[in-house]
């Protein structure tokens, strides 16, 4: 028998307001989240990802649809009855309690025996390496430490699912990187299903088992990070995740999933066609910036495109080039890794050619 999904969202809508002010924060959305996976809801602010999380937590009730936890519909269940815990964006630590009291709060509310609470709190303190600060007030510890307490507090009652609402957004860059690794470790150690909300695509790509990309209350694509990055389902996903170049063209013959596309600016290029997608006529081809390199314009054989270099932006690990293509409108972005002690080969104003890597282009489904 197939294992039950940890959480199943079935045709859930959440509408705020009435009449002409009605607004669907979550719009007839369905998604399944598997047992023990690190699942990320990714999207720009206002896309509905936090509302979806709050629906799972029980802070909002859906206007329609079902929310299943291990097969049981919990859509109408109040939050204090759901075996689901949340790490809040603001942490929401109780300011009038100590670190240990915060962590033990859920277990106290569940009426667990004192001894069990104590040993569980101790285990949690150890898990997040906060043993030394157990007796402190939450206002007396740093942001990173508060973050750990919030995690420990939500994990202490051993929930079926842990919800994390942009928990890293208040931390500075270095601490955020550490916490990303820490979160992965905690998820592996506890074996609890994590549902993580973020607007940071890099965070989503590095941490998740699977990602759902959301926009305007709808889930546009669900897949593992590689699928999301390499095979974006539509223009929004391609644009939101990483940088992308969009080229228009007419599709020609398709052989073994590879199409011959005639673009006005780059001539004919081969592009992968998504499975069971039958395109005709005008299509859009996407190309990631790291899949192209600059080449001298006097070698037309190697360069599919040419144009004028407008900008050179140095990023440390790599350099970004913005090239205005020969049609005068399209600006093509490409990225080259920096080598030690190597000066830029081209500078702004130069005529340059662009060489595309084989199999890099992809026809967009729409």
């Amino acid at each position: 028998m197939a294992e039950l999904n940890a959480v199943e969202i079935r045709q859930v809508s959440k509408i705020f307001g009435f009449g002409e002010f009605a607004f669907a924060a979550v719009d007839n959305t369905s998604v399944s989240i598997r047992q023990n996976e690190f699942f990320t809801l990714l999207g720009p602010s206002g896309c509905g990802k936090t509302t979806l999380l709050r629906l799972i937590a029980g802070f909002e009730y859906p206007t329609s649809g079902e929310i299943l936890l291990n097969g049981e519909n919990i859509a109408a269940m109040p939050p204090f009855k759901r075996p689901i815990n949340t790490v809040f964006q603001s942490y929401a630590l109780f300011p009038h309690m100590t670190v240990a009291e915060n962590i033990g709060f859920g277990l106290t509310m569940l009426g667990k025996p004192k001894q069990e609470i104590k040993s569980r709190v101790d285990a949690m303190l150890k898990l997040v390496r906060m043993e030394a600060l157990a007796g402190r007030r939450t206002s007396q510890i740093s942001g990173g430490q508060q973050q750990r307490v919030a995690l420990a507090r939500a994990l202490a009652p051993q929930p079926k699912v842990l919800l994390l609402d942009e928990p890293l957004s208040a931390l500075d860059y270095k601490l955020r990187k550490d916490m990303q690794i820490e979160l992965k470790r905690l998820q592996a150690e506890t074996g609890i299903t994590f549902i993580f909300v973020t607007h940071d695509q890099e965070e989503a790509l590095t941490m998740s088992d699977r990602i759902a990309v959301m926009s305007s209350g709808k889930i546009l694509q669900v897949g593992n990070p590689r699928e999301i990055y390499d095979a974006p389902a539509d223009r929004f996903v391609a644009d939101f995740i990483g940088e992308t170049n969009f080229l228009k063209g007419r599709i020609g013959s398709v052989v073994n999933g590879v199409a011959d596309v005639d673009t006005s600016v780059a001539g004919r290029i081969s592009a992968t066609v998504p499975q069971d997608f039958h395109a005709e006529g005008e299509v859009t081809v996407v190309l990631r910036p790291e899949h192209a390199t600059l080449c001298p314009p006097d070698q037309p054989a190697a360069c599919q495109m040419s144009g004028t270099l407008e900008n050179v932006v140095y990023f440390g690990t790599d350099t970004h080039y913005h090239v205005r293509l020969s049609d005068g409108e399209t600006v093509f972005t490409l990225r080259e890794q920096n080598k030690p002690l190597q000066a830029a080969r081209f500078s702004a104003g130069d005529r340059v050619g662009i060489a595309l890597e084989a199999n890099a282009a992809r026809v967009l489904r729409n």
Partner: protein
């Protein structure tokens, strides 16, 4: 509709029912011992006075007529009640002057507190709060002790031989004004301070950066930004000043009456409850107008910022 949607509706109406239940005790107490009786005052203002106070259950406009007109004892002709009108004028006039004076003194004081360093600010605030919490009667009494004929000033002046007879300061409009400014000053300073505390001094810096002089910074930047505090403070002083009873009755004596004392008189020696009721309603109406002006000003202020 799913059961979840049903839950939303049920929760909402349950929540509102719970909220009404929670506010019921406060509403009932205020209805019984504050708002309700006001309606009786309104009713009484349209009844005829009883011979020994109270009212007769007969409709009459005498009370309302008496607010501005008086009947000649002999030929019953009506003429303007000059005594009442002068009391009205004095009340409004004194209250306005009190408001202006407290603003003139209170504004720099509040600014002074707001610009103290974090550590000492609390102390200054504490110093302004003490008089605020101190019994109004005691503060009026303190003024009385200073200015009465046997009081501090006259006592010292006589003792040093500068004057032979005490200067009559008590029972004058000046005495009432001094007392009211003294008593209501904290009411002006606190709301002013509250809005100055939130003042963003980077805006003042920007003003100086753009060539404004200190006076122009005050006029064009600080005053417009703390306007809500100025309005709140003025209302907080003007309304109780207009209805003042204790201060004018102690410092003004029987002759220099204000509206509050005139009203009291009708329920005491005057034995004209309908007139007293009509005067009360009139006072309330003036206050309502002042509040309306405040709400309108505060409202437009809010929308400009929001």
């Amino acid at each position: 509709m799913t059961d979840a949607a049903g839950t939303i509706e049920a929760e909402q109406s349950k929540d509102i029912r719970k909220r009404w239940l929670l506010s019921l005790p406060a509403l009932l107490i205020i209805l019984l011992a504050a708002t309700g009786p006001l309606l009786i005052v309104l009713l009484y203002s349209f009844l005829a006075p009883g011979p020994y106070g109270d009212v007769q259950w007969a409709p009459s406009l005498e009370g309302w007529i008496g607010v501005f007109l008086e009947k000649d004892i002999f030929d019953e002709t009506l003429s303007l009640a000059s005594a009442h009108i002068s009391i009205f004028m004095r009340s409004v006039g004194l209250s306005l002057v009190t408001t202006i004076l407290t603003l003139l003194v209170g504004f720099p004081t509040a600014y002074f507190i707001a610009t103290r360093p974090e550590k000492t600010r609390e102390l200054w605030l504490f110093l302004i709060t003490i008089p605020f919490w101190t019994n109004l009667l005691i503060r009026t009494f303190a003024i009385l002790e200073v200015i009465r004929n046997e009081g501090l000033i006259n006592g010292l002046l006589i003792k040093t031989g500068l004057i032979a007879k005490p200067i009559q300061m008590l029972f004058t409009d000046g005495a009432i004004l001094t007392g009211m400014v003294y008593v209501y000053l904290p009411l002006m300073v606190l709301p002013l301070y509250a809005s100055m505390e939130k003042l963003d001094f980077r805006l003042v810096e920007a003003g100086y950066d753009l060539y404004a002089t200190p006076f122009r910074v005050l006029r064009k930047i600080i005053i417009p930004l703390v306007k809500p505090g100025i309005i709140a403070g003025s209302i907080l002083v003007f309304i109780p000043a207009l209805g003042a009873y204790v201060t004018p009755s102690i410092l003004g004596g029987g002759k220099n009456m204000m509206l509050g004392n005139l009203i009291e008189l009708q329920f005491g020696q005057g034995r004209n409850w309908p007139l007293g009721s009509a005067l009360s309603i009139t006072l309330m109406l003036i206050v309502m107008v002042a509040l309306l002006v405040y709400v309108r000003n505060a409202g437009s202020q809010g929308s400009r910022h929001g």
